[in-house]
């Protein structure tokens, strides 16, 4: 009994624990964090293209404007906005605010609501600039 195989992370969600919005948001924070780190590398590539200019900049601009590039940028925006807002939620917890279960849910739904609005605003102004 003491030596039975215990489940190890990250394969506990859905098997050992019931699905909840709180645990989903927790894992989303990590997934978006990893995505942003990878996206950060592409940010460096883009800055390098601006520094080098010429063909490098032409090439980078074409990649960003392609359907795949736009999809990548949209995902990057969603991840950044989510990680920023949920990160603020984490900082509020660290300061001792919002540990009551109703508040945890309310702040969680607020992150999603404000996140979609912010992502929409960024893309509204972004696409207006492109037009």
């Amino acid at each position: 009994m003491a030596n039975r195989e215990r489940p190890l992370s990250p394969f506990m969600l859905g098997q050992t624990y019931r699905f909840q919005i709180t645990s989903l948001m927790s894992i989303l924070h990590r997934i978006t964090g990893i995505s942003l780190a990878l996206g950060g590398i592409s940010l460096v590539w883009w800055l390098m293209a601006i520094a080098l200019g010429g063909d490098a900049y032409e090439f980078a601009s074409r990649q960003w404007a392609s359907p795949l590039g736009m999809l990548f940028l949209f995902g990057f925006t969603l991840a950044l906005v989510y990680h920023l807002l949920n990160g603020i939620r984490h900082l509020l917890w660290d300061s001792g605010w919002g540990y009551e279960i109703p508040k945890v849910y309310a702040s969680g739904y607020a992150v999603f609501a404000v996140g979609f609005v912010l992502t929409g605003l960024i893309w509204f102004f972004g696409l207006r600039g492109a037009a």
């Binding site: 190890l8 992370s9 990250p10 990590r30 964090g33 990893i34 942003l36 780190a37 950060g40 590398i41 940010l43 460096v44 800055l47 390098m48 601006i50 520094a51 200019g53 900049y57 925006t77 950044l80 920023l84 990160g87 603020i88 984490h90 900082l91 660290d94 960024i122 102004f125 972004g126 696409l127 600039g129 492109a130 037009a131």
Partner: protein
């Protein structure tokens, strides 16, 4: 004489120096936790500045893009943002590796890779920003 969570009956294996330093068995105390928070607090406002600047760069030609990034405060904010971002990423990815990679050799290789890539990203972005700002 109580402190550090030790009961009065337990033998005091921890020296007064160890208690005073407060670094615990990991020898680094709350340093990682704290730096993750400090970088997060720095990144939150800078990220907003960064995104607003990026949006203003949509559809810009090379000269305009360079001129915008070369504005003094944009240059400084970009530099601080990207270095802090890669630092924060390094700290976060380290925790992800420690939590999910249970094969020690793979985990150590991952730590090498994360440190290398985040260091490379920070230095390369500083180089690019400096070149844009000082190329004139």
């Amino acid at each position: 004489m109580s402190g550090g969570g030790e009961t009065s009956r337990a033998p005091r294996f921890r020296t007064p120096l160890k208690r005073a330093l407060g670094l615990g068995s990991g020898h680094s105390g709350t340093e990682h936790f704290w730096k993750q928070r400090v970088t997060a607090v720095i990144l939150a406002p800078l990220a907003i500045w960064f995104v607003v600047t990026l949006v203003s760069l949509v559809g810009a030609d090379l000269e305009t893009a360079r001129a915008i990034i070369a504005r003094p405060w944009n240059t400084i904010i970009f530099a601080v943002f990207l270095v802090t971002m890669f630092w924060h990423a390094r700290l976060g990815l380290q925790i992800v590796l420690e939590d999910y990679v249970h094969t020690r050799s793979l985990e150590i290789a991952g730590h090498f890779l994360i440190n290398f890539l985040c260091g490379l990203g920070a230095i390369a972005s500083l180089y690019a920003i400096a070149r844009i700002a000082f190329a004139g």
